[in-house]
Every structure is written in C-alpha cells, then in structure tokens.
Symmetry: C2
C-alpha cells in the first residue's frame, strides 16, 4: 500500500504503527520540498482539498472546522477577556480565522516557521487562508521558540497549532517550551497546544501534560472528533497561570447574535464542557500525571 | 489498494466512499462464507484480533470495550431498574459481556441470525465471547424481527448491536423494527440501536432517529469514540416509552465498589452525560428530525 498508488493517498507514521488512513485522490494539486518539510496538496474525492506535510494529513476542507474551532475557543472562552493572542504554527490560517471571530480579541500574532505553508495555503485553501489576511493579524515567519524569547508578558492566550512531535515541531512538546510560553503570557494567561490522540499516544499526551503542569497552575486535556486525524480523535493540553481557572466551565458564553455572526459548526458552550470529560482509561492515566 | 495485499487489510464501503482504514495483518486466522456473510478473522499487528464481516471491521480487541460498554450502559443506566434485556445481533459476545455486569440485570436474551459468528468468536475472540457463556444468558439463533413477534412486553431494555444498514441488518434500521421493539418492551422500556457516525452518515442517523421518534416518547443520539470504526466515531439512537426519560442524566450511578468489580475502561456517569452533547452541525441537523 504505497502512498498515491492507484489513486489513493495513504498516511503512515511511526507514531501510529499498524494503522493507516487513506483518502481517494482526484488530483495532486501541488508537491514540493520546502526548507523544512515535504508539502503536498491533494484534491480528494470526498474530503475537499487536503494539506499533507511530510506524509501526514494536516487538514482537509471537510473536517478542519472541528479542529480549528476547538483549539481556538477552548482557551479563548476559558479566559475572561482575551485581547492579544499568539498562534505558533497554524500556517494554513484555519485557527487564526477562528481566533479573530472572538469578540474580545483585538490583535493576533501568527508565527509560522515555514513561509511556503502559508503561500501554498493561500493558493489552494482559501477558506482557511482567509484568516491570514485579517487586518488585525501580524504574521511573522520564524521559529516560535525564538520569537517568544523577545516577547515577555505580551499575550493573553498562546495557541500552539503544530504538527506532531517529530520533525520541525519537536521542540514544541518540551518542558522548556511551556516555560517559555508562561513568560510570554500576561498574568492570568492561558496556553493551548495540539497534543495528539488518547488512543495511540497516551504516553505522549501524559508527558505533554506533565510539562504543562510543571509550569502552569491549572491544566487539563480536552478531546475533539476529527475523522481524518489518527483514531478520529485529537486533543489539546491547556494550562492557565490563574490557579482558579476551571477549564470545564467556559467564562465567555457567546450570545445568540454573536453565534449567528461566527457561524460555528462544532464549538458550543456545551461541547466545551463535554470535551474535558474523558473515557475512564484516559482519565485514570492522566490523573497520575504529576 | 486491495484488501489483504502486502500484509494490510483495507476496509471499503459504499457507505463511506473516498476513505479507507487499513490495519496491518500478521495472519489471517479464519476465512469463510457463512449462510449470511463473509466472515474473516485477522490477527493484526497492533490492534489484536479483528472480526471482519463482508469486508467491514466489526470489532478489534484493542478498542471494542468502548463500543461494548457504551451501547450497554447508556440504555441500562437510563432505566430505573433493568431486569430483562434483549440483545439483537452482537454474536461476538462483547455487548452481552457488559450487559451482564449491570447489577440489576437478572436475565438476557441474545438473538443472532448467524450462528457462525458466535462459533468463530468463541474460537478467536474469547475475551468477547466469554459473554456468550454466562449462566443468565439465553441464546437464540434466528431473526430478531421474527423473535420479537413472539415476545410481547417482556423486556426492560432492547439493544440492537447490528452491522450497518446494508446486508443482513438492513431491516433493523426501519420504522417497522422500532414499532416491533416498542411492543416487545415492558412499560417504561428503553431501546438502544447502533446508528452510525455523524460525520459520514448524518442522513442515515436522522432517518433512524425519525423512525425511533415515531414510536418512542423520549429519544436521543449519543456518540462514542472508536478508532477502528469509520471516522473514529460511532453513535447510538435511544428511545424510551417513558416520556420523562432524560437520557443525558443517568438514573443508575454505579458505586465505587461496583465500578471496581465491573472494570469499565470507557463508561462513567460523566461520559454518559457528555456522550449526548453533539457538535453544533449535528445538533442542528438532528433538531430538525420530526
């Protein structure tokens, strides 16, 4: 079962051995090796356009809303008044598109290491890359780690929309990264990082949560359903500098008219709370994280 | 990408076109054409033994607990005192294994149309088929539809653990089936049917919910995460003859000592409630079901 043979793209990774998701492909729209990674854009038969980095599905037009809305609104709605937001990664634009829908957010910074991801997304994923053109967004091409070293106490929320912990994003899963984020945050600030699936990478989820817990006063893991991600489930590690933050209860509830403007397809205050309720095996494993 | 070529099994179905899950296979343990369907048992590399019917994954040892626990305890814990339970389908034994853990359940009937599924499961899936040997279980080989015509007002809960609505299980998704179940139930009885994923089969979920709603006073859809099912998410349509049933709030809460005996790995009272909280796109679509 080789990638792109016979009109199907198949995803393989050492992070989830023995299982592979395949998408039927109508056309390879784009293929290049950037400075950092192999970038492929596929026109799939049933899932719209898909962005693939180093052979791993980053998003499809079919289901990216679920991921983009959850990684944005779980932290934003857990903060009483998020005005300045930093997004590390997220070069496709989907997450910043959602972040800038939040009525409190005055400015956002996006720091993406690979400019080619943004350029390719602008060309092939306009419904996501629309976020990159927002007048209240500043885009910085570079390393998130280095960027934060020069930005102390600037952000209310930092969202890490990274690929998996192999390749360019590896450093974003380390304790030192959570430490750095805590210093780039204003008092009471909140972080939210892509943290993988409970089903295939529970040890990695535990270690990311542990790194977060070593720096932040309140922490939690939340799950979301995204069919084209491994196991169909992905999750987020959240941390708050405020020890009274209860992630399960959102502080910001959108009004009906706000919801109408925002056109959310996955997130709601109810799904916010439910996302922190984990299956017993996962709750038990993560309860042991110190 | 052909099934079982190059050491991988790939699942294709017209119910979810353009996407396919593949499992790496160490050995084909069993393969036969029964009177009703093609039965394959695979020893997979990472997911334990897998049962495949007509080319579709029914269960793997890795993640069957999630499905088995949820289809059992969502209806059982929504009923004040479930004593007699009917399971239609479920020849692998996983669901009845869970049903008979419930402290109120005095007797269970399992009606499976294909005896070969039970025999094969006894041989290759002993951790699931253990349910089939329970002294309080009666097993009937035959058609669930016909069985219920001779059993009026007998059951507190009826669970339909079927394959998808093509092939042998097609009739179990029809309005007439829900009507028949309502007559086989005692007053206040509850049904729970496997009802597919919100992501790929929302029209089918809607129609199953509609059939249920045409007969039952209270109805709901609940979701569970099962990595080896299409989209990694499956769900259940529940119906109650009691108009006051609020499925989201379980009536039966297991004590710590009961939980210790039951060894549940997915279900909890918290996950029970969270399962009924649906993503906005699904909540909106299902709210239109009359």
């Amino acid at each position: 079962m080789d990638s792109l043979q016979k009109g199907w793209f198949s995803e393989f990774s050492p992070l989830w051995p023995g299982v592979s998701l395949s998408l039927q492909v109508e056309e390879v729209l784009h293929s290049e090796q950037s400075e950092y990674q192999k970038i492929n854009v596929l026109k799939t038969k049933e899932f719209g356009t898909a962005l693939i980095l180093d052979g791993v599905i980053q998003c499809t037009e079919f289901d990216e809303f679920s991921y983009s809305e959850m990684i944005a609104f779980l932290p934003l709605c857990s903060h009483p008044d998020p005005k300045s937001v930093l997004i590390v990664g997220g070069g496709d634009g989907g997450v910043v598109r959602e972040v800038l829908k939040h009525p409190s957010v005055e400015s956002a910074y996006l720091v993406e290491i690979d400019a080619r991801v943004m350029e390719v997304s602008r060309q092939y994923l306009p419904n996501m890359a629309v976020g990159l053109n927002h007048p209240r967004l500043k885009v910085h091409v570079g390393d998130g780690f280095k960027f934060m070293q020069n930005h102390e106490k600037e952000f209310d929320v930092i969202i890490t929309d990274s690929s998996d912990p192999v390749g360019p994003a590896e450093s974003l899963f380390q304790a030192s990264y959570f430490d750095l984020m805590s210093r780039a945050l204003k008092p009471g600030g909140i972080v939210c990082s892509q943290a993988g699936t409970l089903w295939y990478s529970l040890p990695c989820v535990s270690s990311t949560l542990q790194h977060c817990r070593s720096v932040f006063s309140s922490t939690a893991y939340a799950a979301a359903s995204v069919p084209t991600y491994p196991s169909g489930q992905i999750g987020f590690v959240l941390g708050s500098l405020n020890k009274d933050t209860n992630f399960q209860t959102p502080l910001r509830i959108f009004s009906p008219s706000e919801l109408e403007t925002m056109k959310l397809r996955y997130y709601s205050k109810e799904i916010h709370s439910a996302a922190f309720t984990l299956p017993s095996f996962a709750r038990e494993a993560l309860s042991k994280v110190s």
